[in-house]
């Protein structure tokens, strides 16, 4: 009967994350960075260029270029971010540090190819002059790279480095803008765009250097990470649809009857875009809170539960750990929801008073209010999806992502027909439905978590444990390594 055997592997025991007040601020930068960066650049450029007397149309063109660069680069890299997060975390766990840097290069190449082609096609047919085309192209491509870099950098949790990078880049951007417009005869909008390009180039370069420094191990095979696309195609789809869903409603408005054209090419819709961008800022607290509470309160319980399962916990210990974990999880979710709801209402109140001062019309402010609520639902939904991924419920996460994309798009289209009173309703209803689906799914999953933990493992199964990654790319897997051996000759009654 020798031969029946099984191996158990211990849960990866990484150095724990220590709560740190500064961390609240740092993690916000990494998780909502893109939006803030985009907003800041736009706001700065807007104010400065208006101030030096540039005509409105040109400023709108600049803003459109920036917005398009951001939105489409985020959509394109959305799926990659999820898969790369998983790839990095798996390799860290297995100690295969040499695989990380090559994947960085490989993924850059892939993303550059895609963005390069898409950007080229989009800009080639535009009526912009060559200067604009090149500068816009550069921005689009740079930012695409930046989002990939963010995945690698956030794994390192050296937030001060990240902040310094952005800060310096911003300084460069501002300085150059001033220099170019004041001391050269270059067209101010092009100068701005050029400065933005250079500023971002600095950021991209410094991050790349830092990443190379840190992940110095290099194992040949820069495209090995592509195997994860086959293995985890679901993850890619989740990332893609969740990201795309967050912008599809905006894009739909760009094609509505209220849309305008910037530079005779870029569609935009200020009565929706502006309220939307500001509304997204209001949900930063939830994101920050989530990231921190997960690492401080939830991770411990989660790790305890799975540790007991792998390391020989008795059934009562496991049951207890499970209920504690679920309790803490629900507590945290509730807390975040309450706090964010409060902040959202506060934002609406403030917005109604303050937004008119920066040029918002009455209608825009109304739209802002609905979108704030919609964004509240959206951010909670994102949190639930991340939690589902922590438990490796990829199917659940995919369902939610698909529901989000389709309901957001469908209801936005639907409410477009209903007139101006219903601007923003599509986003609200879509997010509401998606959040409901997500909550139901989470409830179902937690109720059945035992079955997911045990029944899913095939009889000959080897699965890997995983550490957390915060931010959208987090994914986790059940931590068991088990192998069922065969029965050998001594099990059957043997001959004498």
């Amino acid at each position: 009967m020798a031969g029946i055997g099984f191996e158990l592997k211990k849960l990866f025991n990484k150095k724990g994350y220590l709560p740190n007040i500064a961390a609240y601020f740092y993690s916000a930068m990494v998780t909502v960075g893109p939006m803030i960066i985009c907003m800041s650049v736009i706001v700065f450029s807007n104010i400065y260029l208006t101030d030096i007397g540039v005509i409105k149309n040109s400023i709108e063109l600049l803003i459109a270029i920036i917005v398009y660069a951001f939105v489409f680069s985020i959509i394109i890299t959305g799926g990659f971010v999820y898969i790369l997060s998983r790839y990095i975390s798996d390799n860290i766990f297995e100690g295969k540090f040499g695989k990380i840097l090559p994947s960085f290069y490989g993924s850059q190449i892939v993303v550059l190819l895609i963005s390069g082609v898409v950007g080229f096609l989009f800009l080639a047919f535009s009526p912009l002059d060559t200067g604009y085309k090149i500068l816009s192209y550069l921005l689009f491509v740079e930012i695409s790279i930046l989002w990939i870099e963010m995945v690698y950098i956030s794994a390192l949790r050296n937030y001060s480095k990240i902040l310094k990078g952005f800060f310096t880049g911003a300084l460069i951007l501002i300085a150059l803008t001033l220099i170019f417009t004041k001391f050269t005869g270059l067209d101010p909008v092009k100068s701005s765009l050029l400065s933005i390009d250079i500023g971002f180039f600095y950021i991209v370069l410094s991050f790349a250097i830092y990443i190379k420094q840190f992940y110095f191990h290099f194992e040949p095979g820069i495209f090995k990470f592509l195997s994860y696309f086959r293995k985890y195609s679901t993850l890619f789809l989740i990332g893609f649809f969740i990201t795309f869903g967050a912008y599809i409603h905006i894009i739909i408005f760009w094609f509505s009857k209220s849309s305008l054209l910037a530079g005779n090419y870029f569609r935009y819709c200020p009565l929706y875009d502006m309220p939307m961008f500001y509304s997204i800022l209001t949900v930063i607290p939830a994101m920050v809170l989530f990231v921190v509470s997960v690492e401080t309160h939830f991770y411990g319980k989660y790790k305890a539960y799975y540790s007991l399962i792998i390391n020989g916990g008795t059934i009562r210990e496991i049951k207890l750990a499970k209920s504690e974990m679920i309790e803490v999880l629900l507590q945290q979710i509730t807390y975040i929801m309450e706090l964010q709801l409060f902040i959202s209402f506060l934002s609406i109140t403030i917005g109604v008073r303050m937004l008119p001062f920066i040029g918002f019309t009455r209608a825009w402010t109304d739209t802002f209010s609905i979108l704030v609520l919609g964004s509240f639902l959206y951010i909670i939904m994102i949190i639930i999806v991340l939690i589902l991924l922590y438990f490796d419920d990829k199917n659940g996460a995919l369902t939610v992502a698909l529901v989000f994309f389709t309901s957001n798009a469908a209801f936005t289209l639907f409410f477009l027909q209903m007139g101006d009173n219903f601007i923003g309703a599509g986003y609200f209803v879509g997010s509401f439905i998606t959040l409901s689906v997500a909550l139901l799914r989470l409830r179902y999953f937690l109720k059945n978590i035992d079955y997911y933990t045990y029944c899913k493992q095939p009889l000959y199964s080897i699965a890997k444990p995983v550490d957390f990654r915060h931010r959208g790319g987090a994914a986790s897997r059940i931590a068991e390594v088990k192998k069922m051996g065969t029965l050998d000759g001594k099990n059957a009654g043997t001959e004498k």
Binding site: M1, I315, Y451, T486, A492, G493
Partner: protein, 474 residues
Amino acid sequence: MDRVNDMRICIIAEGSYPYVTGGVSSWIQMLMNDLPEHEFVIFTIGAEEKTRGIYKYKFPDNVKGITESFLDEFASTKSNWGKRYKISNEAKIAIKNLICGKYAEWDAIFAMVRGKSYDNVTNFLMSRNFLEIVQEASEEYYSQVSFTELYWTIKSMILPLFQIIKKDIPDADIYHSVSTGYAGIIGSLAKFLYDKPFILTEHGIYSREREEEIIKSDWLKGYFKEIWIEFFYSLSKKTYDSSDRVVSLYTRNMEIQKELGCDEGKITIIPNGVDFSKIATDKMNPPSDGFINIGALIRIVPIKDIKTMLHGFAIAKSEIKNLRLYLMGPFDEDEEYYMDCMQMVENMEIEDVIFTGMINPHDYMGKMDFLVLTSISEAQPFAILEGFAYKKPSVTTDVGSCRELIEGADDDFGIAGIVVPVMDYEKLGNAIIKLAKDPKLRAQFGENGFKRALALYSIDRFVNNYKKLYYEMR
């Protein structure tokens, strides 16, 4: 008696016929050969799929078919996890009891596994029902044990069992298992499904053998040893309960069976039988070449404890120079052990040790002065009986029915050899010396053994007993 209608008998064998040469397999071959009026079909349970089709025996003409199954067989079909089956409460409780080492209603398990809604074993083991059963068992019974390990242990226990239960069992008039364990379960299953007569013949006591192995094993930890031991006892108990008749080879085994819960009224003793007509009567006497020939009719495997035999022989050899030891049997079953033995002969510089390989006993038996058998575990070795047929006494270890054969259970035939403790090479050496020095004693012992064998262990008796048994069972 010979007018008995021919019946179809399904022989159910585990880990023996036709893959392994040895006592049980030979016994089966003998049974089928000597009851030509009946048809036989064979249902085998082997340990490893890779031995499929590799037969060490040629089937007699009255063998009409063979169904092979293996404990490591694994339908690698696409599995559906997380299903919820509709299983009866009886089945659920039965499985739980089986897991907890309590008395289990096997028939409920049979009904469930053979039921239509039970698609395949893998799905069941990945089902919610199964997880819940293990959880309940853990709560009630194994609350101090690592749950995950328990879950996987139970899975590995149930998988081969349920796979076997799902197999198609050939049609037959009588089902005859040659051990308890999985073979016994198949017989019990046949009884449950077809309500046909079910006979059990036990050579060694399966559950005891498994218990010993498990206790000695080093890859199973504490609690889990118990779970497996209880499991095998449960298989035995069910076999005893389901069978209509239980055949034991000798009295001691019968006592053990009773201890293990077998109904005394069911047990019959039908010992092995040796075919006196096949004795080469012209070759009964050893050659007078000045040597005393000691024969061992064994396979070169650890369970025969050749090393003790060699050591004992060495001790005797140091005192008596003209001793020769014949190790008569195949040595390819455990190459490593064979090498060890050869090494031992070399290291201890033992002379006159001959490994003959596989031979026809009838060619060699007559040449021997006496036989030796030092097994750690035996039932009723043919080696000794054949020796008796040739009037050769035996020095044996005290295992199985050896003492009964040498000293008689309840007869006046006298002593036919010397019994020594297991692994005691000193006493073995002394016994060899005693017999080697005393030809008169050898002759007397040999004669006693011959008379005993003729009266109680002849093949005619064996055949008649089984003919009668089959006839009674139809």
